[in-house]
């Protein structure tokens, strides 16, 4: 009935993403109809437009269908843009990652493209990382800096990844036009091979120390807890270039690790921040399923190298938008954090 106080009401529970965050998306008035276009999210305590939420899930799904990346790195910032509180955006984002990873790993398991031994070592690291990340998140939350933590980590990570992807795509594009160029060697002997605690990873055909996979897993775990992502976009290159794993098993193995790390992080977030919104997650998952199917079909038709450049530009655009929010004078300097109920 009233067109007021829609998703701009991110003031509950966690930091209110002041002004600029809340302007996009869900504030549109709509005729009162039988179908609830606006959905009340019980944990976020915010009302948002169902189609906007489906679209956010859909964009992430589209990316995963086209490129095989999780797309989780887009969900959390987009949720922030429409005024979902940062803690809910992170905790619910990681819940959505569980679903997209399960749906992705099944095909890889069937083709035996999962190195379970390597996956479990990385999982052990991931558990440590997730616990560390949750601790960091709650410390900063108590200091009123959840929003800053999320913004900073996104600008840093998306900025780096986007730049790397862009450079790599441009290089690849040039290589494809210049047939004389030599392909790069993937498996190189580097510092990884000098570390102790070596172990045999049969599926990957590797005999390396467990320390690097533990570390890669741990970093992904921290990212899951503070950013609500699976961390595949970081793990996949690390597994190829640092660990020297065969490309064939990399995606399946990282998805395997992500399922369990994301599941653990979801439970930890539910227990500490209480910010997992199941209803929101389900709408995002539904959107993701539809998007992934569209993405798979689109991905076949389009030039992969050009698409990779587009993805890199998209990632950079999201990072740039968050960076602007950090450095430009905000419209609203004040924000409300509810710390308790009387």
């Amino acid at each position: 009935m009233t067109g007021r106080g829609k998703a701009g009401g991110g003031a509950f529970l966690a930091c209110h993403g002041a002004g600029r965050w809340a302007r996009l998306g869900a504030e549109t008035d709509q005729p009162a109809g039988a179908f609830p276009l606006q959905i009340y999210l019980p944990i976020a305590e915010v009302t948002a437009n169902v189609f906007v939420l489906l679209g956010i899930g859909g964009v992430a799904g589209l990316l995963s269908g086209m490129f095989g990346v999780g797309g989780g790195f887009l969900i959390t910032p987009l949720l922030l843009f429409i005024g979902i509180p940062p803690a809910v955006a992170v905790a619910t984002g990681v819940n959505q990652v569980v679903a997209s990873s399960v749906s992705g790993v099944l095909a890889h398991l069937k083709r035996r493209n999962v190195d379970l031994v390597m996956g479990n070592v990385m999982l052990a690291g991931g558990v440590l990382g997730a616990v560390l990340g949750i601790w960091l998140f709650s410390v900063l939350r108590r200091m009123g800096q959840t929003e800053l933590l999320v913004q900073f980590s996104y600008v840093g990570l998306l900025g780096t990844i986007g730049t790397m992807m862009l450079l790599e795509s441009v290089r690849a594009l040039r290589r494809s036009r210049d047939p004389k160029a030599r392909p790069r060697r993937l498996h190189q002997h580097n510092w990884v091979h000098k570390l102790p605690f070596k172990m045999k990873f049969r599926t990957s055909g590797l005999y390396i120390s467990v320390v690097p996979p533990l570390m890669v897993g741990a970093v992904a775990g921290v990212l899951a807890a503070i950013m609500g992502v699976g961390g595949g976009f970081l793990m996949v290159p690390a597994m190829i270039y640092v660990l020297g794993m065969p490309t064939k098993v990399v995606v399946g193995t990282s998805l395997y690790q992500v399922i369990f790390v994301a599941a653990l992080t979801t439970v930890l977030h539910a227990a500490t921040t209480g910010a997992v919104d199941i209803l929101l997650a389900l709408v995002l998952i539904l959107g993701g399923v539809i998007g992934a199917q569209l993405g798979t079909r689109l991905g076949v038709r389009l030039n992969p190298e050009q698409m990779r450049i587009l993805l890199a530009l998209l990632v950079l655009a999201v990072a740039g938008r968050i960076l602007l929010d950090l450095v430009l004078t905000p419209d609203e300097l004040y924000s409300i954090v509810v710390t308790g109920r009387l």
């Binding site: 009401g9 606006q38 569980v98 800053l148 439970v267 399923v289 710390t339």
Partner: protein, 269 residues
């Protein structure tokens, strides 16, 4: 419609007046107010479901008199307030640190209503004296108790002003002067708009009757705002058994992910 409602209101008011008058007469205190207020609400329960888009509550009533109004009496005023469950909160102010805007100053508010609406039949300052406002905590600034970490910030009032401004912008705090329709100093009605982003709990509704800024009588009742259906079940589980809630979230995600990939594989083949 309008006329019918008014007629019904009169009937209701008369009936109410009879019942309440009888009830009050029995325990009559020595100096009973000569004018008493009787009020009703169009609804006393609000269900927050997934499709909740806000609601309007009609507050209506009548003035019951034992003695006729004096010829030279000051005009009567009616004030209606609806107050959501109180919260403890922090108001943060951003500042630039190393080129980056971040939360740097905090003022803790010991108690602030999650929702607060004031509707009056006359400008609030005319309808209520400052002393009475202090006693009954009627105006929005009076409803907020902001003492606590005052010492840390130089301009603490700016923070409470920001709190009121932000929540007014979200429709959570409302001051509607003149929104109470008062007919012949006897019948009154107003509507209070509840926005979509409500917090659940017991909402206190008060109706004040004043002359010359002095409160003559107060009527109090409650509105029960609660999450309903699946919303309620989820939020209770999340609060009381967070680990079970987390496991449920994971289970649902696994089932959804597995179901989606299976469904689309079947669809393709």
């Amino acid at each position: 419609m309008r006329g019918g409602l008014r007629l019904w209101l009169v009937a209701a008011a008369v009936a109410l007046a009879g019942v309440a008058g009888a009830a009050r007469a029995q325990e009559a205190p020595p100096a009973a107010p000569t004018e008493q207020v009787l009020a009703g609400l169009s609804t006393t329960t609000v269900a927050l479901t997934a499709s909740f888009e806000g609601s309007e509550i009609l507050v209506f009533g009548a003035v019951y008199r034992t003695v006729p109004v004096a010829e030279d009496a000051a005009p009567l005023a009616v004030i209606v307030t609806v107050q959501g469950p109180p919260q403890r909160l922090s108001v943060w102010r951003k500042g630039r640190r190393g080129g980056v805007w971040m939360n740097v100053e905090e003022v803790r508010v010991a108690r602030a209503p999650s929702f607060y609406a004031v509707a009056t039949s006359a400008p609030l300052t005319e309808a209520l004296s400052a002393t009475e406002d202090l006693r009954h905590q009627v105006s929005i600034p009076r409803a907020i108790r902001a003492f606590g970490a005052f010492a840390t910030v130089a301009d603490a009032p700016a923070f409470t002003e920001a709190l009121i401004r932000l929540r007014t912008g979200q429709g959570l705090y409302q001051l509607n002067e003149g929104a109470v329709e008062l007919t012949r100093e006897t019948l009154f009605r107003t509507t209070v708009a509840l926005p979509a982003n409500l917090t659940e709990g017991m909402y206190a509704a008060r109706v004040f009757l004043t002359r010359e800024g002095q409160v003559l009588d107060v009527y109090e009742t409650v509105i029960d705002v609660r999450k309903a259906g699946i919303e309620r079940w989820l939020s209770v589980l999340a609060r009381e058994q967070p680990v079970a809630y987390g496991l449920l979230a994971v289970l649902l995600a696994v089932v959804a992910g597995w179901g989606a990939s299976t469904a689309f594989r079947l669809l393709r083949s």
